[in-house]
């Protein structure tokens, strides 16, 4: 035997370890699995003493070391690699290498290693299972289905193997196949060939079998197999324990099978069971009921699309569709004579008829109008006596506007709100209440009972909220002053006041109000957090941190606990604040923290892949998978990604001085030397300060807990506090990466495409088609014509020369598509001028964008552009109004003072408290 073989007996197809060492190796694996890393290391060392090149032991030692001490990851990698070098035909070594990559979250590499291991030992269940976990995590669904199939064939007696295979089929879109798998499996249980006790329980009434049956039923529903789903429910209903889901599925089937009476009685049972506040249930009820009464007039496919997923929040057919008189009357009859007597306390049951009555009144008789007025009055008085802070918001959902296709939409724009008939009607009612309360402590003159003193407060409060909807901020503030005078101890009023002051233009005053409310009740976390948010808006990060710290663990330090709690809203507001202050490194650091949280959330699902299958929580599990698939479309993620892209774009255009090589050309040698010395000095000074700070921090830690902290890995919030590392990254590369994610996962948002355009332009003429595509997407998503941001970019793109360094085909596409972007105007100038001629009044942002384009590309002088801007821009938003003033004064240097003062006058009329006007 050669000496190398003596040290490494298993290499190649050599013989196994001697008995003693083989036992040691078994112990090593056992200890590793039990997370007893120290013991495992000891076993490994004992084996290596005799066989210093034993590959599998080296690999296992490396893996153990990885978990044993976090600062030896590199050494761990080296050990595993050495093990692999010594025994590259061992599946154990490859498996271990895969596990190491997995620990590093490098799933792509891990999958490769597992596959290599399986080439050597193709029926290794453990490796197959590990591979499957990574495939589902990475959504390699076609690979996943193959892996789970192999596992099932190897071990068909285990229930999880059937469930996983079934799930794999479903995820791949093979719902029919998934159903077949369930049926085959259940059949093997029924025929009694199976001796596994766990599995037999699946036919009894228990949680796991119940979930499995409901899962199967959901699959049938998703295929629209109503008959099959119904008979399945009838057959297996006895073993379903989630009666709510059972009832809802039954009702869905019956509705689609046009068995409306049965559907209604099923829904009745659900309501009696306590679900009378579920608006989706009400919506289904209304659809079914109308079908029994007005069959010919209702298109149930439109009103109740499969599963009713169109209904969210407080939507019902009455808020979405224009009902005929007959439909309204039968629904009203349903609620007033049937549901309300049954559920007199249900809020939904009281609120829904209000919308129906409104529909009846809109084009109805005087009698109908009277009925609606009385109902509205009753509803409002109840809320005011009780003191419902959200009443004005609740009532705002009555401000419905008919759109095309006999559907309704909510009025959101302040002008639309103000012009709505019911806005005026409700305002009048509120005015009357106030008069009556002041004269005789009653809400209406016909009222029997006297109101408590707080009612007057709530009427003012509600009216202030009502004025807020129509952007009449001065009137709102007058009512708020009355509230403050009446009950200065009411926290609610300060919050509303702050919100309105902010909208009216004064952030400073808003913060003052918020803080008055906050100190009234120091335990009110909402008020504390809102104050924090306002302070960040006002660029006061230090004060904000002080405030929010009052609710945070003092032991770990506020910054760390905010990070550990994944407090994204705070990190995002702080990042935006730092971005405004041009502290780009620190801002990037905050955005990176949020992006990191989302990586963690994505990573978190890993544990569910095996757990959920074992526990048979299939419905919840598939929901989680679906949710994780849409993770990069979450608002917080998008905000962080967009912020990061914005900053890197700025850095790309204007690199910070430390990073950029200063322009030394045109200097004499001596000047150059001097400039370099200064730059060096600056850099070293900055380094010293940073080092001193880090040292101070480290010292603090050691005094806190002497020996631990020296070993402890630095918390992410303590590393690279200034974000210098982030500043050094390749800016354009980072933009490209994030913009690609947003384009793929968040394509329905305008900001995604605006940034994609900006990034593509910076990447040069080679990406012209990408920029073009982004513009078309943006135009599609923006939904309104000439959105200011889209308009500006279209003008920018079309005024660039066609790049002659690009292939002919690219130039051809651009030549064809640019006229499409310009609505077939003959030139950019024509396009701009035709857009300018379209409307009299426009949103301020749009008007400003068009005015700037007129000046740059439309052949107009700054004065003409300024006249165009001031004459037709609606002061609808503080930021764009301020930007307009800046452009007028600084960019165009308009000399006509009357134009400037006219603009200021119009803006101040809308935002009376604007800071610094």
């Amino acid at each position: 035997m050669s000496s190398s073989q003596q040290q490494n007996p298993q290499a190649g197809q050599g013989q196994a370890l001697p008995k003693k060492e083989a036992d040691l190796f078994k112990n090593l694996v056992k200890h590793y699995e039990a997370k007893q890393y120290k013991k495992a290391m000891k076993q490994a060392d004992l084996i290596l003493k005799k066989f210093s090149k034993h590959g599998e032991t080296l690999a296992m030692k490396g893996l153990t070391m990885y978990y044993f001490s976090t600062d030896k990851h590199e050494e761990a990698h080296n050990l595993v690699k050495e093990g692999l070098r010594n025994d590259f035909r061992s599946h154990v070594c490859w498996h271990v290498y895969g596990l190491l990559h997995r620990a590093d979250r490098d799933y792509g590499e891990a999958i490769k290693c597992y596959k290599q291991a399986l080439r050597i030992d193709q029926d290794n269940l453990q490796i197959l299972r590990d591979l499957g976990l990574l495939q589902i995590q990475m959504r390699d669904l076609s690979g996943f289905v193959v892996t789970r199939n192999s596992i099932l064939i190897l071990k068909p007696t285990l229930q999880p193997n059937w469930l996983s295979f079934m799930l794999a089929k479903q995820l791949l879109g093979q719902t029919e196949g998934a159903l077949q798998v369930i049926d085959i499996y259940l059949e093997t249980l029924r025929s009694g060939n199976n001796t596994n006790n766990d599995s037999i329980e699946l036919l009894e009434r228990n949680y796991a079998p119940s979930e499995l049956q409901l899962y199967k039923n959901n699959l049938l529903l998703s295929l629209g197999k109503w008959e099959d789903a119904m008979s399945h429910l009838n057959e297996m209903g006895h073993c379903i324990v989630d009666r709510g889901a059972y009832g809802w599925n039954t009702a869905t089937c019956l509705l689609n099978l046009e068995k409306y009476d049965e559907c209604i009685s099923t829904l009745d049972k659900l309501m009696q069971g306590g679900r009378m506040e579920d608006y989706r249930l009400h919506a289904a009820y209304m659809c079914a009921y109308l079908m029994t009464k007005e069959k010919d007039n209702v298109d149930v496919r439109k009103w109740w699309p499969v599963g009713g997923h169109e209904y969210g929040g407080m939507d019902t057919p009455a808020t979405k569709f224009q009902l005929t008189k007959e439909q309204s009357r039968s629904l009203l009859d349903l609620y007033q004579n049937d549901l309300l007597p049954q559920y007199p306390k249900s809020l939904a049951t009281k609120r829904i008829p209000l919308t129906i009555l409104w529909q009846l009144a809109v084009s109805g008789t005087d009698e109908a109008k009277k009925g609606w007025s009385v109902a509205l009055d009753t509803y409002m008085r109840k809320g005011l006596t009780k003191g419902v802070p959200s009443l004005s918001h609740d009532l705002s959902s009555l401000l419905l506007v008919a759109s095309s296709d006999n559907q309704y939409q909510l009025a959101l724009d302040p002008t639309d709100v103000k012009n709505h008939a019911q806005y005026g009607q409700i305002l009048e009612l509120l005015d009357d209440y106030i008069t009556n309360l002041r004269e005789r402590s009653q809400l209406t003159s016909s009222d029997e009972k006297k109101e408590p003193p707080s009612t007057l407060f709530w009427v003012w409060y509600c009216r202030a909220g009502w004025y807020e909807l129509s952007a009449q901020y001065s009137l709102a503030l007058e009512d708020i002053a009355r509230c403050r005078e009446h009950t200065p101890t009411a926290v609610d009023v300060y919050e509303l006041e702050a919100r309105i002051l902010h909208k009216a233009g004064s952030l400073e005053k808003a913060i003052e109000s918020m803080d008055v409310g906050r100190v009234l009740d120091l335990q009110d976390r909402y008020m504390n957090n809102e104050t924090t948010r306002y302070l960040l808006w006002n660029n006061q990060p230090k004060e904000a941190l002080e405030k929010i710290s009052m609710f945070l663990s003092q032991k770990e330090g506020p910054v760390q606990s905010l990070y550990d709690m994944q407090c994204s809203w705070y990190e995002l507001e702080l990042a935006a604040c730092l971005e405004r202050q041009e502290q780009y490194g620190r801002a990037l650091k905050q955005y990176a923290a949020v992006l990191g949280h989302f990586d963690d959330i994505h990573e978190d699902q890993f544990d569910f892949h095996s757990y959920c299958i074992r526990k048979v929580t299939m419905r919840a599990y598939t929901d989680v998978l679906k949710w994780e698939d849409a993770l990069w479309d979450q608002p917080y993620y998008r905000e962080a990604a967009e912020g990061t892209i914005r900053i890197y774009l700025k850095l790309h255009k204007n690199p910070p001085e430390e990073l950029a090589e200063p322009d030394y050309s045109g200097m004499t040698a001596a000047e150059k030397k001097k400039a370099k010395a200064i730059a060096r000095k600056k850099a070293s000074k900055k380094k010293k300060v940073a080092a001193a700070e880090a040292q101070a921090k480290a010292d603090n830690n050691t005094t806190d807990n002497n020996n631990k902290s020296s070993k402890k890995k630095l918390h992410p919030t303590e590393q690279d506090v200034e974000g210098d590392e982030l500043l050094k990254k390749n800016a354009l590369e980072e933009c490209k990466k994030l913009s690609a994610i947003l384009s793929k996962y968040a394509p329905s948002h305008l900001s995604t495409w605006l940034l994609q355009y900006d990034v593509s332009i910076q990447r040069g003429t080679g990406k012209s088609l990408m920029a073009l595509q982004a513009l078309f997407q943006a135009r599609k998503v923006a939904a309104i014509d000439n959105h200011s941001e889209v308009f500006t970019r279209i003008v920018d793109f079309c005024s660039r020369p066609i790049p002659d360094d690009q292939p002919a085909v690219v130039q051809q596409v651009l030549k064809e598509q640019i006229p499409v972007l310009l609505n077939h105007a003959s030139s950019v100038s024509d396009f701009v001028n035709s857009v300018a001629a379209e409307k009299e009044q426009q949103k301020c942002a749009t008007r400003l964008a068009v005015a700037k384009a007129l000046c740059q590309h439309g052949g107009k002088s700054p004065t003409e552009a300024a006249q165009f801007l001031v004459s037709g821009a609606e002061p609808d938003n503080v930021e764009s109004c301020q930007e307009a003033l800046r452009v007028l004064q600084e960019e165009w240097k308009v000399s006509d003072e009357s134009l400037i003062s006219e603009w200021k006058r119009r803006v101040k009329a809308q935002f009376p408290l604007l800071d610094g006007w």
């Binding site: 407060f457 009446h486 009950t487 200065p488 009234l520 120091l522």
Partner: protein, 167 residues
């Protein structure tokens, strides 16, 4: 409708003492200094210092302290420092209920905590007829001597001592 507003009582503590400031500054012509509020919180006696709540809002408060009886250092008296109800909520017996609750608290504890307490007393500006009538007519307080120049910044600066023997 009964005249009496149905109120709840609540304690005054570090977290909500600013509410007391709001009530007091809405009710009284004089402003109390920080020490007044610190003492109220430090005393932590919910029986003697409390808020009146209606519909979730603080609408009034009473603050009382135990102090040596002037002239006889071995005996004590309950001294009402402030009793305030927000204007919008007056005339609904909120103040009455607050004083009643202090008196009830005394009754419940007169054999131990308050065994050396002889009377309950307060100072009231001589022009404040409403307050004087309130204590005398509703709670049988007695009008004592006038103290001249008791207040510094308000006119008239004189006050009466109102008191009621408890045992």
């Amino acid at each position: 409708m009964s005249k009496r507003l149905k109120i709840d009582f609540g304690s005054i503590n570090d977290n909500n003492v600013e509410m007391l400031r709001k009530v007091n500054s809405a009710c009284f012509p004089i402003s109390y200094n920080d020490n007044f509020y610190k003492d109220v919180v430090a005393r932590k006696n919910q029986g003697l210092n409390k808020f009146a709540y209606y519909g979730g809002f603080v609408i009034g408060a009473v603050c009382t302290r135990l102090e040596p009886l002037p002239g006889d250092e071995s005996r004590k008296r309950l001294y009402i420092m402030t009793l305030g109800v927000l204007a919008a909520y007056r005339g609904r017996e909120v103040g009455t209920q607050l004083i009643e609750s202090v008196l009830n608290y005394y009754e419940e504890n007169k054999s131990d905590q308050f065994k050396d307490v002889d009377e309950i007393a307060l100072h009231v500006q001589i022009s404040n007829d409403d307050a004087i009538n309130f204590y005398i007519e509703r709670f049988d307080f007695v009008r004592g001597d006038m103290v001249e120049n008791y207040y510094r910044r308000i006119d008239p600066p004189h006050c009466y001592l109102l008191y009621k023997k408890l045992q």
